[in-house]
């Protein structure tokens, strides 16, 4: 899916060779090790200083950024929430992508799946941190891209909710043939769901391997 060659991003990241296959990939590593930077390179939020990244055989340079970002959707570490209600936040990605808006039923089902039992008219400023995090997960999952880049999507969730939300997300993606590249600190999540784990340290790959 992604092939990385001789990649350098400033003094932050240096990856001579890395191949990320379809499926569920977990990126682990201490804070500051370059995980967020790697995800941002993959959706062209930033571009490498040196080296190349290809997506399904095409250089990222050659793919228009907006087109790529619609296919490879990044849920950032601190996702912003748009003022207004849940509906607005769930629909806005569809508007940005000029897609037909999701049905009421689809939106409510999605909310239910992430255990967010609120009406679509609920104002987002009334949500707790954990509820906001589930809202943004719902927001990207409704959009159904080919690849999800999830940057610590469950950091504000308690262990039980985390488990069930990530399980849902992974199962749904597997069912629909979508890939996930996810940064997480949870060893439990990695051990349970990852096809492959890539560990970063100081901007370099320390270790990689299949789920033990």
């Amino acid at each position: 899916m992604f092939e990385i060659r001789n990649l350098k991003y400033q003094e932050v990241l240096e990856i001579p060779e890395l191949s990320i296959k379809p499926g569920v990939t977990v990126i682990a590593g201490a804070s500051g090790s370059g995980k967020t930077t790697l995800l941002r390179l993959l959706n062209k939020s930033i571009s490498p200083t040196e080296g190349s990244i290809t997506y399904n055989g095409t250089e990222l340079k050659e793919i228009p950024s907006v087109k790529l970002r619609r296919e490879v959707l990044l849920l950032s570490q601190q996702p912003a929430i748009f003022n207004g209600d849940l509906r607005h936040n769930l629909e806005i990605g569809f508007k940005f992508q000029n897609k037909a808006l999701p049905s009421e039923k689809a939106m409510l089902e999605m909310l239910q799946q992430v255990h967010l039992n609120k009406t679509l008219e609920t104002e987002v400023r009334l949500l707790s941190g954990g509820e906001k995090q589930r809202l943004v997960i719902a927001r990207v999952f409704l959009l159904a891209p080919a690849v999800f880049l999830l940057d610590e999507p469950s950091s504000a969730l308690d262990d039980v909710t985390e488990e069930s939300v990530i399980r849902l997300v992974v199962e749904k993606a597997r069912r629909d043939g979508q890939s996930i590249i996810m940064v997480t600190h949870s060893k439990a999540v990695a051990a349970q769901f990852a096809d492959e784990i890539i560990e970063l340290e100081d901007g370099k790959i320390k270790d990689r391997g299949a789920r033990s």
Partner: protein, 258 residues
């Protein structure tokens, strides 16, 4: 009707009492703006006196080239003022956009106004052209300053939302849509407010001046209505040109935020 009553230099000197009053307040309250106040008073005085002499000369020797030269100078000066106000905060490409928007917006509105609306003959008659152009340029400059400020502030405070929009597949134009709208709003609001209060809480300068110099109030009012709409047009056109192109300066050719 006889012309305007002359004002002697001593009478003008008496009006500086107002500056002294403000100066007193500033000193007493410890508000450190004395320098700016004095500088502003001095600059206003010197600039206006020089302008008076210049206009006397210009009105005496009307020429299309001179008129064009003067409004070009006025537009250039306005652009420079905006640049200085945002020293260090404008990228080269945003500067180019400001200059282009200011020039295109004001020139087109000025010429429409002079040639089509007022129909001055010959078109370059300086006593019409210069004050009318001046008002449109001055107001456009205020509008574009407000626009640039609101655009820079918006792109800073709402950077996360812009980034989020890009992540969700928005084009840069979509991602900045709200910022652009609120910027346009902020930039034309003073003009709209001025129109709302016009004639009731404010008697505009041009109209007052015409009345003082003996023009019938009804004629002065006609001119005022026309120029106010001309100003609205010039401000809006300048700002929308700024925004149409200006948002791009925050992105690179890979649609990445810079």
């Amino acid at each position: 009707m006889s012309g305007v009553m002359e004002l002697s230099i001593w009478q003008v000197a008496l009006s500086y009492v107002f500056v002294l009053v403000v100066l007193g307040i500033l000193i007493k309250r410890g508000i450190r703006r004395e320098r700016e106040l004095l500088l502003a008073s001095l600059r206003m005085t010197v600039q206006l006196i020089l302008t008076g002499y210049a206009l006397t000369f210009i009105f005496g020797t009307p020429s299309p080239w001179l008129t064009l030269l003067i409004i070009s100078f006025m537009v250039a000066y306005a652009i420079r003022t905006v640049f200085q106000k945002f020293k260090g905060r404008l990228s080269t490409s945003l500067k180019k956009t400001v200059a282009g928007a200011m020039a295109a917006g004001t020139f087109s509105c000025i010429f429409y106004f002079i040639l089509v609306v007022i129909q001055i003959d010959p078109w370059y008659q300086p006593q019409y052209f210069i004050p009318l152009a001046g008002m449109m340029i001055g107001n456009s400059m205020t509008g574009i300053s407000l626009g640039v400020k609101s655009l820079l502030d918006g792109m800073t405070t709402q950077r996360q939302l812009v980034e989020e929009a890009l992540n969700l597949g928005a084009t840069p134009k979509m991602a900045t849509h709200d910022i652009i709208n609120s910027t346009f709003d902020a930039a034309i609001m003073p003009t709209i407010n001025a129109m709302l209060g016009m004639g009731v809480i404010s008697l505009p300068g041009m109209m007052t001046g015409q009345i003082l110099s003996g023009t019938a109030p009804t004629t002065a009012v006609m001119y005022q209505i026309a120029i106010m709409l001309g100003i609205l047009g010039a401000v809006s056109l300048t700002v929308i040109l700024l925004l149409q192109f200006g948002y791009k300066s925050f992105f690179n050719d890979q649609d990445q935020l810079v």
